[in-house]
């Protein structure tokens, strides 16, 4: 059982403060959904937790199993089990998905340990079958010229291969067609049930995803912090009423 603790986190980009006192604890197996208006700091939060060098943590802390990870580089955080499915994944021309993932898997092995290529491909193909991704996909350059939905599927494939302890999924549902959404949700749900179920932070704008991946907790983010938390019914309420009532409630408080 692992635990990711975000404690009163403040994040600035340049001198602009974006995340303003965000606190949340996620345990293995839990799914937390975060919803909130555009520009409220959801992606900033996710990237800051993942260790983006441009995002300055001005105060607060992020702890993985009790130990702060703020001094670690992004790659070190990744290797200790943190995964970010990007809202806008980068394109890496000339680097095939197979080679990229292979390098990522290799990076997790102990020094001097060589990757078993046969086992790697077997596992890769199994995951691809599960996510109904065509085998030809692996020889394409990472995200290069991918459609929006393909990029998101590629993120999920990477997540499945890297088996993180905690996954921050930033609008993984946007751009997915209805079938792909179901496939991705099935993939995540399969992980959820397993013995090494990750803790998941789902950033989304739509109830649609939460129909498939039913969250344990739903949080509303507003102006850089969580202003309201509840169970899955909160998402339904947001879907029906929009954010105005939260704004009012928050402004009144």
């Amino acid at each position: 059982m692992s635990q990711l603790e975000i404690k009163d986190l403040h994040v600035a980009i340049g001198d602009k403060s974006i995340v303003k006192g965000f606190s949340l604890t996620i345990r293995s197996g839990e799914v937390h959904a975060i919803m909130g208006p555009n520009g409220t700091g959801k992606s900033t939060l996710a990237k800051a937790v993942a260790g983006h060098p441009d995002y300055t943590i001005t105060s607060g802390d992020v702890l993985l199993n009790g130990a702060s990870i703020l001094a670690q580089e992004a790659d070190e955080r990744a290797r200790s089990g943190l995964f970010l499915a990007f809202q806008y994944p980068s394109e890496i021309p000339g680097v095939s998905i197979a080679n990229f993932l292979r390098a990522a898997v290799q990076a997790r092995l102990a020094e001097g340990e060589e990757l078993d290529a046969t086992a790697y491909y077997k596992r890769l193909y199994a995951k691809m079958d599960l996510l109904k991704i065509d085998r030809k996909f692996t020889s394409r350059s990472v995200n290069d010229g991918f459609s929006g939905g393909e990029k998101k599927r590629c993120e999920i494939l990477q997540m499945a291969m890297l088996e993180p302890k905690f996954a921050l999924m930033d609008e993984t549902d946007s751009g997915l067609d209805i079938d792909a959404l179901r496939i991705v949700a099935d993939g995540v749900n399969a992980l959820r049930g397993g013995p090494s179920a990750p803790g998941i932070l789902l950033i989304t704008h739509y109830q649609r995803l939460l129909d498939h991946i039913v969250p344990d907790h739903v949080h509303v983010m507003w102006d850089g912090r969580i202003v309201k938390s509840g169970d899955k019914s909160l998402a339904l309420e947001l879907e029906a009423k929009g954010y105005d009532w939260v704004k009012k409630e928050f402004a009144a408080a």
Partner: protein
């Protein structure tokens, strides 16, 4: 203008200041050398005496000594090409360089006979165990003289002559004299003149009519002594309908002062012959690497240069092909990586001199940190020719904002019966891309080297397997070292 006349590269503005790009750079990478006992040492500095010494140690024929002395005069009288090239050339101190060193060994025949220290060098060069067997085909240039050879015997069965320059000029003048110094005349440029005066080592190859050499012929060059210049001379003649692949690798250990590598490589592909010349070099970043490479392709012949330049303080190299016969083909595929403090000034020259000749240039450069890449190209198609084609592609990759890249493609195509195509692109490895890869667990260095390998991937795929593997390894090493 005769077909063999050199066309100087276009003249960009000269640098304003004399640069010393190695200041403040970690130079420990590749930091190794071995103590060697040199039996013959021409001492430092260049004079007629030096040239005579080299020639006498090599027991050369009088015509070669004359060739050398004439070249020395040219070298001394020619100005530095700093009107178009970097002023950093002025930092070469010709008086401090050793022009000839030799252990006086006879070239070795088998692996067992190779001295341990040379084996140790191969080991330090990181050539993996599986590739050791590959070494049995290596003609290693250990300082000035060939230290190892074995493939010679094998190819001799096909009538192929594969010898070092001294041996070849002594034993087969009837074959080599005709072309020696003809593709690249002594006075082509200051450094070809220098090479012509003091050359030693290098490979001379003759492939008889119709012979297809099955395995690539190889050489490894290395500078081992401080202040030593290495001036190998290579001449490959592929007779009608023959085919040969030649590969060279270069590396140099790190010394505190600059060293000079100035080679001349001449290729002659007679009617219907094919020559492929592959270079992967990784010089220490205080080496001036000033190399002249040119080939002449006769009717329906093909010359292909694959040229990968990593390291060095300054590399100036523009492999060229003179397309002399109808339907001749020329190709240059080049990759240059300029890390902090390095300047890769590379390019290609295609001189079309017959109808229906085609040329292809693909140049990729990578500039890291303060690294600087320059592309200089010359494509010349005179008006009276028909059906000539050229394709030129230059792609530059910049890693961080300080990097600098310049492109000087000079394409002179006259007449309307010829076609050229030119594309250039500049791309950047941005921070988001590096963060994305780091988020998957790769270190910053691994991320950068993956990005670089991705950038050159489509080109590297065309290289022979073992060379693309070697290239990848060198890039990994270079990129690992460039972060921190």
């Amino acid at each position: 203008m005769s077909a063999l006349t050199y066309t100087p590269p276009p003249a960009p503005a000269a640098d304003s200041a004399t640069e010393n790009p190695v200041v403040g750079i970690d130079q420990t990478k590749g930091d190794f050398s071995y103590n060697m006992d040199y039996e013959f040492d021409a001492g430092t500095g260049l004079s007629e005496k030096t040239v005579r010494y080299i020639s006498s140690v090599k027991k050369e024929a009088p015509w070669i000594l004359e060739f050398r002395l004439n070249a020395l005069k040219k070298f001394l009288s020619m100005p530095m090409p700093t009107h178009w090239a970097t002023k950093d050339l002025e930092n070469i101190n010709f008086d401090k360089i050793r022009y000839y060193l030799s252990q006086g060994q006879k070239p070795k025949r088998t692996w067992d006979e190779v001295p341990d220290d040379i084996k140790k060098t191969f080991e330090r060069l990181g050539i993996p165990e599986q590739e050791r067997k590959f070494l049995s085909g290596v003609e290693a240039q250990f300082d000035s003289e060939a230290a190892y050879s074995n493939i010679k015997e094998l190819v001799a069965k096909q009538g192929v002559i594969f010898a070092n320059s001294t041996e070849a000029l002594r034993e087969h003048p009837e074959i080599f004299r005709k072309f020696f110094g003809k593709v690249i005349p002594t006075g082509d440029n200051k450094f070809s003149a220098l090479n012509s005066a003091v050359f030693s080592g290098g490979s001379f190859i003759y492939v008889p009519k119709g012979v297809k050499v099955a395995q690539p012929l190889q050489a490894y060059f290395r500078i081992n002594a401080e202040n030593f210049g290495q001036f190998e001379r290579t001449l490959i003649i592929a007779d009608e309908g023959s085919e040969v692949v030649y590969m060279e690798g270069c590396t140099a250990p790190k010394f505190s002062t600059s060293t000079l590598h100035s080679a001349v490589v001449e290729l002659v592909a007679l009617k219907g012959a094919k020559i492929q010349y592959i270079t992967v070099q990784n010089w220490a970043n205080n080496v001036f690497n000033l190399v002249t490479k040119r080939g002449v392709a006769h009717e329906e012949a093909e010359i292909k240069w694959i040229d990968c330049n990593i390291g060095s303080r300054l590399t100036m190299k523009y492999p060229g092909v003179v397309l002399k016969g109808r339907k001749a083909r020329g190709e240059v595929l080049s990759i240059a990586l300029a890390n902090d403090g390095q300047h890769q000034d590379t390019g290609a020259k295609m001189i079309h001199a017959a109808d229906e000749t085609t040329s292809n240039i693909i140049a990729k450069s990578i500039s890291v940190g303060q690294g600087r890449s320059t592309y200089r190209g010359v494509v010349h198609i005179p008006k009276h020719l028909k059906g000539c084609k050229n394709n030129t592609e230059c792609d530059a990759l910049l890693i961080n904002s300080n990097s600098r890249t310049d492109t000087y493609p000079a394409i002179t195509v006259r007449g309307d019966q010829n076609a050229t195509q030119h594309e250039a692109s500049v791309s950047k490895v941005n921070e988001e891309m590096i963060f994305y890869m780091q988020q998957r667990g790769l270190t910053e260095g691994q991320a950068m080297s993956l990005a670089v390998n991705g950038f050159i991937n489509d080109l590297a795929r065309q290289f022979p397997m073992e060379y693309s593997v070697e290239l990848k390894r060198l890039i990994d090493l270079e990129m690992e070292g460039s972060v921190g």
